[in-house]
């Protein structure tokens, strides 16, 4: 089996996410990611997965694979990327999340409309629940359940103060079965010091809420036999010759200030 390099962006939002730009339709996200050289794209909206299927449909004809995912906010207000290889497993996870959603309603003026669209940018629905809020499930419950359903968990933007496992919990709790930690676009995963993350492998991704983030944002390069979650899992574990090859860092970080992230009343780093 021949191995080759795959560029992965495993943390990308669509317009379903609070603070996701309206240009981030599944169709546009897929087209922009393909243009930016992304081979593997995970759609990870906040506590929801309604736009994943549209992104998978929109990717037909592109040399790009879409993985179902979600940026889950646990009861401890820690953001975890839940990544799946199969839609059937992801649907089961969505059901678990629905049972643990905040009872609050979204504030459309402040966080934007949480739009569900199809692969052709047609509006097909709106999520009314406040998706940018913690679930009632603990971080242990989330990680154990995602793993049991066949998915994989990555602690999101661990180098940030907000919503990171290190900020909220001080360190990765012993026994928590994470596959990796994600470093935000603000830091270089090869050099940034991350006390409390133990020996977990590091990835980096765009955490894109805007098309510019997607275009210029950080990405991880893997050596894989194919664009699947099972392959990425092996690369993170350093098994069978699969591995992390390197990182493509956000081009904007050392230049002008990173744009985006702020929209109306949106919180920066709502990521």
């Amino acid at each position: 089996m021949s191995l080759r390099a795959y560029v992965a962006d495993l943390h990308v939002h669509t317009l379903l996410s609070p603070c996701g730009d309206l240009l981030m339709s599944p169709r546009n996200v897929v087209a922009t990611a393909a243009e930016a050289g992304v081979d593997i794209l995970a759609i990870t909206d906040h506590n929801a997965g309604d736009n994943v299927a549209a992104a998978i449909s929109a990717a037909v004809g592109y040399p790009l694979t879409v993985l179902p995912g979600m940026e889950v906010e646990t009861r401890e207000e820690v953001h975890i990327l839940a990544l799946f290889g199969k839609m059937r497993q992801f649907r089961q996870w969505e059901e678990v999340v629905r049972q643990h959603l905040s009872p609050l309603a979204n504030d459309d003026d402040r966080f934007g409309i949480q739009a569900i669209v199809d692969a052709d940018d047609n509006l097909v629905g709106v999520r009314r629940e406040r998706l940018i809020a913690p679930l009632t499930a603990s971080i242990e419950q989330v990680v154990v359940t995602v793993n049991r359903l066949g998915g994989m968990c990555v602690a999101a933007h661990v180098d940030k103060a907000q919503h990171s496992i290190i900020g909220q919990l001080g360190f990765v709790p012993p026994g928590l079965a994470l596959a990796a930690v994600e470093v935000s676009r603000l830091n270089n995963p090869q050099t940034v010091k991350l006390p409390g993350t133990g020996g977990l492998p590091r990835i980096t991704s765009s955490d894109a809420h805007y098309t510019d983030d997607l275009r210029w944002g950080s990405k991880t390069e893997f050596l894989l036999a194919g664009p699947t979650l099972a392959e990425i899992r092996q690369a993170l574990a350093g098994e069978n010759g699969r591995k992390i090859l390197g990182y493509r860092l956000d081009h904007r970080v050392r230049g002008p200030a990173v744009s985006g992230g702020l929209l109306g009343g949106c919180l920066d780093g709502a990521g």
Partner: protein
């Protein structure tokens, strides 16, 4: 003042860590970010928080805190209770808010 006396004066429920009730409480602190708690910890402090995760016990043990008060009616995770018993760190709960608990601790003479 011992942790046991604090428990009586504030009407707290002792959920775990009975073995530590004789410990002297010498200060107070109130925060929910554990990174913050580790950064500002005072040995011997009673720590008021809303966090219920097992890492609060690890932080309390690491920083030699006297007790943890989980405010606002929140309930600790089962792992947290177990660890607090193992480490003999009193795990105390109350329906009072963080603000209210901190104010009463201050009135008892504890300082940050």
């Amino acid at each position: 003042m011992t942790v046991g006396e604090v428990v009586k004066k504030l009407g707290l429920a002792v959920v775990a860590g009975q073995g530590g009730l004789d410990r002297e409480a010498t200060a107070g602190m109130a925060m929910d970010l554990l990174s913050n708690a580790m950064g500002q910890a005072i040995a011997g402090a009673v720590w008021v928080t809303q966090q219920v995760h097992q890492n609060i016990v690890a932080v309390a043990s690491l920083e030699d805190l006297a007790a943890i008060v989980i405010a606002g009616g929140a309930r600790p995770d089962p792992d947290t209770v177990q660890k607090a018993d193992d480490e003999a760190i009193p795990l105390l709960t109350t329906p009072l808010s963080t603000f209210e608990v901190a104010g009463r601790l201050y009135q008892l003479g504890l300082r940050g």
